[in-house]
């Protein structure tokens, strides 16, 4: 008998997945929270105190925020027009091919892609060689192991990602809106400014948030491309586990990062809700 109440059957079906999630997702989070409040085996706020009193630690958070915001900003600004070109200018029969072309680079390993940028930006790498060959430079630029390299590496990935999400947003837009705007006398430009842009804004917001979360938690790109002069939060966290084997501190730093992400989430959700009314 198919009934929609909770009985032993549904519990048996849902049980494994739910138990697994609790055991390996919720419990670890709780354990991490608990660990962050321990030092030398006892309850302590030392870890958080440590963070607040170490200028280099706070700096890591500041760096992370700066880099992530810059990356998100640049990626959105570059990806939006590209998504527009894909959605509006590419003829219908080439749409699938264009989409494939955009997705293809994702098939390279993420680690390897960041490494490729290292190749490009190295002192004897392609970029420097090219610039010197054209006479624009006498001496190679220090591009690798800088914040610039980290930003370039991130922007490369997020342009690909955001182009896809914004493109999907464009495609979902009912053609009736554009027809109605034209019918009422709007030029192409006016239609874009008054109708298309406002209606794709929520999609941009969601994409930007996604980029923010992924970037701020990423270890690979800053570690490979940013060098050791400047540390971002993920690098700081991993550092605690590696050499210093200080799990509680790492846990505290992770929690701080989580709080930052949650704040961003709430701000985004609030903005989206305001958009609706």
């Amino acid at each position: 008998m198919t009934d929609f109440r909770i009985n032993w059957r549904t519990l048996l079906l849902v049980g494994p997945a739910a138990t697994f999630t609790v055991l390996f997702f919720l419990v670890p989070l709780a354990a991490m929270a608990a660990a962050s409040f321990t030092a030398a085996g006892a309850f302590s706020l030392d870890n958080y105190r440590h963070f607040l009193t170490q200028p280099s630690y706070v700096q890591a958070l500041v760096n992370s925020l700066e880099v992530t915001l810059v990356v998100t900003g640049i990626s959105v600004v570059v990806a939006y027009p590209l998504a527009w070109v894909l959605a509006e200018r590419v003829p219908e029969r080439w749409q699938r091919a264009a989409l494939m072309l955009t997705i293809l680079p994702f098939w390279t390993s993420y680690v390897v892609r960041s490494y490729s940028w290292l190749l490009l930006l190295a002192e004897r790498g392609v970029v420097n060689r090219a610039l010197m060959a054209t006479g624009l430079l006498d001496q190679p630029l220090q591009l690798a192991n800088t914040r610039t390299a980290t930003v370039i590496g991130f922007v490369h990935f997020f342009i690909m990602l955001l182009t896809l999400t914004i493109y999907a947003n464009f495609r979902q837009l009912s053609p009736s809106y554009r027809k109605a705007a034209a019918d009422l006398g709007a030029s192409g430009f006016q239609t874009f400014v008054h109708v298309v842009l406002p209606l794709t804004l929520p999609g941009i917001m969601v994409g930007a948030f996604l980029a923010f979360v992924l970037a701020i938690g990423d270890y690979v790109t800053p570690q490979l491309l940013g060098g050791s002069n400047e540390l971002l939060m993920p690098q700081l966290i991993i550092q605690q586990i590696g050499r210093r084997a200080d799990l509680p501190l790492a846990a505290a730093l992770s929690l701080i990062l989580m709080v930052v992400i949650s704040i961003a989430y709430l701000a985004c959700a609030r903005w989206l809700k305001l958009e609706r009314t």
Binding site: S174, S176, Y177, K179, A180, A181, A182, D183, L184, G185, A186, S187, Q190, H194, V195, P198, L199, E275, R276, T277
Partner: protein, 353 residues
């Protein structure tokens, strides 16, 4: 006789190899409510798109208010369209939606707001000015779409199955309102629908379309009772068709011979040759034909079914044709009864294609 507000001359359109409109020609008078009626694939939506400027026709011309607008884009054309899905801009308030066209045409804010409020009052929604579209019901959204189009004072208002998304009761109510609003503003409307009752309720000029051609046009009552094409005879409800022959035409009188006898009909357009007589079920009567009435022979009642507001009877004639009648509910009639059939010549259509 005023000049037509819209003139279509030899309009044709093809999508690739498929011709969807064949040499259409049509005049629309100012203030006329025109309805395009037809099944899907008849070309009615294509014709509307061409009138609105969303499609450039393969051949032919469209003149609006005397000007050749064939290749004119929608923005410059003196037409506005009410879309099937209303296409209200979700991020703007109702007032901003209605004022949008005015804003695009450079009207100052104060004047825009005034005009928008006025038109919203016309459709009975002045209190919705600051609301957002998603806060309104389907019927209300439909009226906002109408207001947005009307405020532009177009020479021609186009409506693409505007009542399709509404339920029956609401549809009937909106039909009355649409008609009333059209009379008040005096703008020519072109309304596309596949619902024949809607078409007949609204149209001053009814156009029946099939396979890219106008197969019948005129006053709804005339088109209904005296269809001039086989398609419009059967598309708009049940109809009895009887083979006939026009043997002679003298002045405006046609002598028509059928299996049930010879009759004279006042049909100036008739010409000698094969024809089909049409009679709607509600116009077919029981009893022998007496002075002036047209006989449709005798037959046996095969079925008599209670349908609520009328009684549906099917009579199998001696010439083995099945004729459907709509009778009064309490008409005494029983299966197997022998009856005679006749109709008033004003209700008899003469089809010659």
């Amino acid at each position: 006789m005023s000049a037509p507000v819209v003139s279509i001359r030899n309009l044709s359109h093809a999508f690739g190899q498929l011709t969807v409109l064949h040499e259409l020609s049509l005049d629309i008078k100012p203030g006329e409510y025109v309805v395009l009626l037809g099944p899907s694939g008849s070309g009615k939506t294509t014709l509307l798109s061409i009138l609105g400027g969303f499609l450039e026709p393969s051949a032919g011309r469209v003149l609006i208010d005397g000007r050749d607008c064939t290749r004119m884009p929608p923005a410059k054309r003196p037409t506005t369209t009410v879309f099937q899905d209303y296409a209200l801009f979700p991020h703007m308030s109702v007032g901003a939606n209605v004022a949008f066209g005015l804003r695009m045409n450079g009207i100052a804010k104060a004047e825009r707001v005034d005009l928008a409020r006025g038109t919203l009052a016309l459709v009975g929604l002045e209190q919705a000015f600051d609301k957002k579209p998603h806060q309104l019901s389907g019927g209300q959204r439909q009226r906002v779409a109408l207001a947005r189009a009307l405020v532009m004072k177009p020479k021609l208002l186009l409506l693409d199955e505007p009542l399709g998304a509404l339920d029956l009761g609401l549809r009937r109510q909106m039909q009355d309102e649409l008609k009333a609003i059209q009379k008040r503003v005096g703008t020519a409307f072109v309304h596309v629908t596949h619902d024949q009752e809607e078409a007949m309720a609204l149209a001053d000029l009814l156009l029946v379309m099939q396979d890219g051609r106008i197969v019948d046009q005129g006053d709804p009552e005339r088109v209904y009772t005296q269809p001039s094409s086989r398609f419009s005879a059967t598309f708009m409800g049940e109809n009895t068709l009887v083979d006939a022959e026009v043997v002679e035409v003298a002045g405006s009188t046609a002598t028509v011979r059928t299996a049930f006898g010879t009759l004279k009909l006042d049909r100036p357009q008739a010409r000698p040759g094969k024809a089909v007589l049409t009679v709607r079920p509600e116009n077919m009567r029981l009893g022998t034909a007496h002075s002036g009435k047209v006989s449709f022979g005798d037959g046996t009642v095969a079925e008599s079914v209670f349908q609520g507001s009328y009684r549906k009877a099917v009579v199998r004639t001696d010439s083995r044709q099945e004729i459907v009648l709509k009778l009064a509910v309490d008409q005494p009639i029983s299966k197997g009864e022998r009856v005679a059939l006749h109709a008033d010549p004003r209700h008899v259509g003469l089809l010659q294609e």
